[in-house]
Symmetry: C2
Subunit: 639 residues, 2 copies
């Protein structure tokens, strides 16, 4: 088959997602297959048929207490003023909890209320009422009673009731087999050497685990090359051997998009493109009466498309309702823009600050898996909404337990590698707490404190007038707030250069003179402010620096960039250079401090944060990295 | 060892549950063991150490689009009025999404914006900005970045990020080994023949599955007899081979309570008895520095004690926060009484009726597993609250997804076996819907409709004056409401007698004359009203009937009781007699109808209910049972 044949532009539909879903589900009956399993192995399985009790529980009249079994009528005269004696074997027998009540008795008196006179005689001072402290036959389960209907997902306690009803095996719905086919010439296995242009195949593993979590039985195939014959072969095999087919990549309108044509050729395409982002270029169709879902190559698009279309197919097969995520109302820390007619699935961080859940969007780039991994929630902007203004309230689906969101310390501001270490040590002390951080730079960190979007901001802002760090900026920007400026670290800033410093970079003048490619930081970052100051001091204009206009958002990103480009130089902190095996030319010793409201500083979270920072363990682990000195025992600069 | 030695009364403490929990957790460091697992097998596992990226993702500058790679500076002159031509190989190359950008280029132009002139030439009408449509190195993950802290529970998408960062194995926390020891002479395996006095051991299986669900590794031992030496041996072995020990039964203050003494002898007892019901007689202690939890024998007590004390131990071991259940506010349909100083864990049904979540308590009997299985939620009455009045609002923990509660049709009133069938067929049509039913009798069913606690009530109430069923009662009790009385079934009531009817019971007079043991129904049940009418017609007083005062709550319970007692007789519907293999002597043909508000009748749920009742499939399956005729196509008697 000619690959060129498929090399043409494809028009993607804008079908509303709910409509595409409905059409997909309506096209398949998905009658489940059934299998017998032992009760012990049935956790999480779905009953395929109603289950009826094989026996009653209890299956005899059982004593509910330790005591004596009596005939109630024999005891009516008993009274505190008129104790009654009963004869063993004739008028009573001893019973323990669970013992069968002999047929001639109809009540139990608790042992605590029995006065033992001798081996043959007891005395009581209160009459028994008929059937007291007796568990009648079938108190729990009556033989032939329906214990569960079909379509019931079995929980731990359910298994107990089945065994109690003397059921040892039951019919459950088979887990639907979901074939997963990764395609693409650029894909390599994780164990292969990654060369430029090759990407590790990991979507398949994610899909398989989503399918497992949703109750399906995933079958992940090897990587299939972007060749029509091979893709066709893989699809036909999957259609024969599975209940649902997932094929990855090849569903955008790019140059190697054979998949939609092949599905059309050997089956039917219902939908190609839905009005939702990311995840838009999804393919829905069927091959041999089996549903096939073509999910986009970009991971986040793929995860969402899988949830939109594969999860409902699995649930329909299992005949269970789709699970729903918990939702909460969040206040938007930033404006969110969307397109009319398109749903937007925005990954957000949610911080619980000043009694409000404040949401900030993460990157929308569909290739950034960490934006999904780090997200606390999903904000779904409906197709008929153009977006939300800052400060507006909207509903978000939680991707993490609410407790975790509520308990997190929200960190903003400048990036420093010790923040992860700090989070890790906080979690060691209180495993329901941690830091969620967004690296937005020192200035944006201060603004986050101002707007009540973060608990703590890390800043390193040099005032060229005074030569002092941080103090001036906090006073200027947060003057009207009750703030604590907490000394945290002294750290070294310096040039990141390829090993051995081949261009002999020692100053900003060298960068300009040798036309090195400079890897810059974003506006508002402390490191950027330092660089701009160095430029100014050297009397250089920004446009004398190659690469000045492109901005990176962290020390590690700068170092990674320098590592890949032998002609590059960056500015940043020592540990980032060391992590990437770069040489480091010291430029400045700076003060990296923490800003927080006095209220937070004095709160439980704040005290925990400070106690960890001041611990010997933290100091040791930070100073071991090199280039750091923890100064957390100094007095606050403000507050 | 002398068993008598342990035969003494034991005083149970009333320690507040949170205090007992805190003491237990404080007594153990529970340092986790770690193990290496493959990423593919790591779903749900907890990271034991922070995880750092082995590579960047992407690890090269990658094209984010299908198009051409260019040097942005070469394109600045391009304009709609001034198209710019670029030469292949010198000024541009073709790139697909994911391709590496050759070092001399720094931007990508989408293929849609490229006009191909010939094999060597393209034309553009818009300049490119530097780095547009390029995914820079580390856009997703930067090498050496901390991807996860320790204590992170791995979800499907997390596994993708690990593989993307070229991590194939990682260190996770071992699943703590939880030994489960069922004890008791009365226990038998589910495969053994159940004889009176013997109880199927099922708690162990429930515990094992709870432990599995909570992330532990359960080891369920065989049944251990109530003999001190054997129990001691089992405990010592468990202390050697596991991280946490659970021992079942023997923790009440009854006659065979060796466990607490043995734990005290070979270890330490911290707590014996907490101020919470059910679950009070729990034992908390340690043996060889391993925590041991002795849980009561009654299943519901045991499930709760396990959740209170074993789950936090597992979570502490795994260093993860304890999961919390979703809570909702419920309105109480009945008064709930509690004891000052005791927490009460009330299992409740929750119905969503008229826009409110209405809760009704299920039995408090700790031996009734189905009260936990059927419960929609748990209402926890705090120790300092004496209870709640009817109509009061309280918080409940959900045991089922909120959707399931919201979507259920709440059925009240008289018990009929076809209601389960109806629920099952509704679930077949809409697998997010079902009926939750409580069998409270016809009169209580009418009251539930009146109080807005149920959607539908099933009633069969004979008016002796008119000889008519149901109409009089609805008119009298629900006169001021807009009600539909929907004809549902005609069914046969009759005597349940042992096979062959040895006492030749034909009438209520025979029961009195032959002094048969009558198994009665509860006040307000239609069957009870019928029996009382038969008594009255025969001119007999209730006290002429043996067993009259004891009340059963369903046809099946009556039949089960008759089955076990050769001298007994009951009154009820045909299929219950048949299910238990009893003979059935017809007494009356009665009309079993459904009562609902007009509003519900016309709602989506109501229409679904009626459509299933009127389906041929339902009629067939009901009439196949015998003793029934579906009359659902008749006109409503009211409404």
């Amino acid at each position: 088959m000619d690959q060129k044949r498929y090399k043409r532009k494809i028009y993607l539909e804008d079908k509303p997602r709910p409509k595409a879903r409905e059409e997909l589900l309506a096209a398949f009956g998905l009658p489940p297959r059934k299998e017998w399993v032992k009760v012990e192995d049935a956790l999480g399985r779905i009953t395929a048929e109603p289950v009826f009790a094989s026996t009653s529980m209890p299956h005899y009249h059982a004593s509910a207490m330790d005591g004596i079994a009596v005939n109630a009528a024999d005891t009516y005269s008993a009274h505190e003023q008129n104790p009654l004696r009963l004869a063993y074997g004739e008028q009573f027998v001893y019973v323990d909890t669970g013992n069968a009540i002999p047929a001639q008795y109809n009540a139990v008196i608790m042992i605590e209320n029995v006065n033992v006179i001798d081996d043959q005689t007891i005395e009581i001072i209160e009459p028994a009422t008929p059937w007291q402290h007796i568990r009648p036959i079938g108190e729990d389960i009556v033989q032939e009673e329906m214990i569960f209907p079909q379509g019931h997902k079995l929980r731990p306690a359910d298994l107990g009731s089945l065994l109690a009803a003397r059921i040892t095996n039951l019919e459950v719905v088979n887990k639907p087999v979901v074939s997963i086919i990764p395609t693409g010439n650029e894909l390599i296995e994780v164990t292969d050497e990654p060369v430029p242009g090759k990407i590790i195949e990991f979507n398949g593993t994610v899909f398989a685990n989503f399918v497992k979590e949703w109750g399906g039985n995933p079958r992940l195939s090897g990587i299939v090359k972007d060749e029509p014959e091979k893709i066709k072969e893989a699809l036909l095999l999957a259609a024969e051997t599975s209940d649902i087919i997932v094929i990855n990549a090849g569903s955008s309108a790019g140059s190697k998009d054979f998949t939609v044509h092949i599905i059309g050729e050997i089956g039917t395409v219902f939908t190609h493109g839905v009005a939702a982002r990311p995840g838009k270029p999804v393919i829905l169709g069927k091959i041999n009466e089996k549903p096939v879902v073509g999910v986009p190559g970009y991971p986040v698009s793929a995860y969402l498309a899988l949830e939109w279309f594969v999860r409902p197919l699995i649930c329909k097969y299992l005949q269970i309702p789709e699970p729903k995520r918990q939702t909460i109302q969040v206040k938007l820390g930033r404006r969110i823009v969307s397109t009319m007619g398109q749903e937007d699935f925005i990954r957000i961080n949610i911080g619980y600050v000043n009694g409000e859940y404040v949401a900030n969007p993460l990157t929308r780039a569909a290739g950034v898996t960490m934006s999904y991994v780090r997200a606390d929630g999903l904000l779904i902007v409906p197709a008929d909404v153009l977006g939300y203004e800052q400060g507006e309230t909207a509903e978000a689906e939680l991707l993490k337990p609410l407790e975790e969101v509520t308990n997190s310390i929200v960190f903003s501001g400048s990036h420093d590698l010790t923040i992860d270490l700090l989070s890790s040590q906080i979690k060691q002390k209180r495993y329901d707490m941690k830091i969620i951080s967004s690296h937005v730079g020192s200035m944006a960190g201060l603004m986050a404190i101002r707007k009540g979007e973060a608990h703590v901001a890390g800043i390193h802002l040099l005032d060229p007038e005074t030569g002092e760090y941080n103090l001036t900026y906090v006073k200027k920007l947060l003057d009207d707030m009750d703030i604590v400026l907490f000394p945290f670290l002294k750290r070294k800033q310096g040039w990141f250069v390829p090993e051995g410093n081949p261009f002999e970079i020692q100053s900003v003048a060298d960068i300009a003179a040798k036309n090195a490619h400079f890897v810059n930081r974003q506006r508002g970052a402390g490191t950027r402010i330092l660089f701009d100051l160095l430029l100014k001091e050297a009397g250089l204009a920004p446009d004398s620096i190659t690469g000045y206009s492109r901005e990176m958002f962290s020390h590690l990103s700068v170092a990674a960039e320098v590592k890949e480009n032998a002609g590059a130089v960056g500015l940043g902190i020592f540990p980032a250079a060391r992590a990437m095996g770069l040489s480091f030319i010291p430029v400045a010793d700076e003060e990296y401090d923490l800003v927080m409201t006095k209220e937070f500083f004095e709160s439980e979270k704040g005290r925990l944060l400070v106690s960890v920072i001041q611990s010997e363990e933290f100091r040791e682990s930070v100073e071991k990295i090199g280039g750091y000195k923890v100064v957390a025992d100094a007095a606050p600069k403000i507050g």
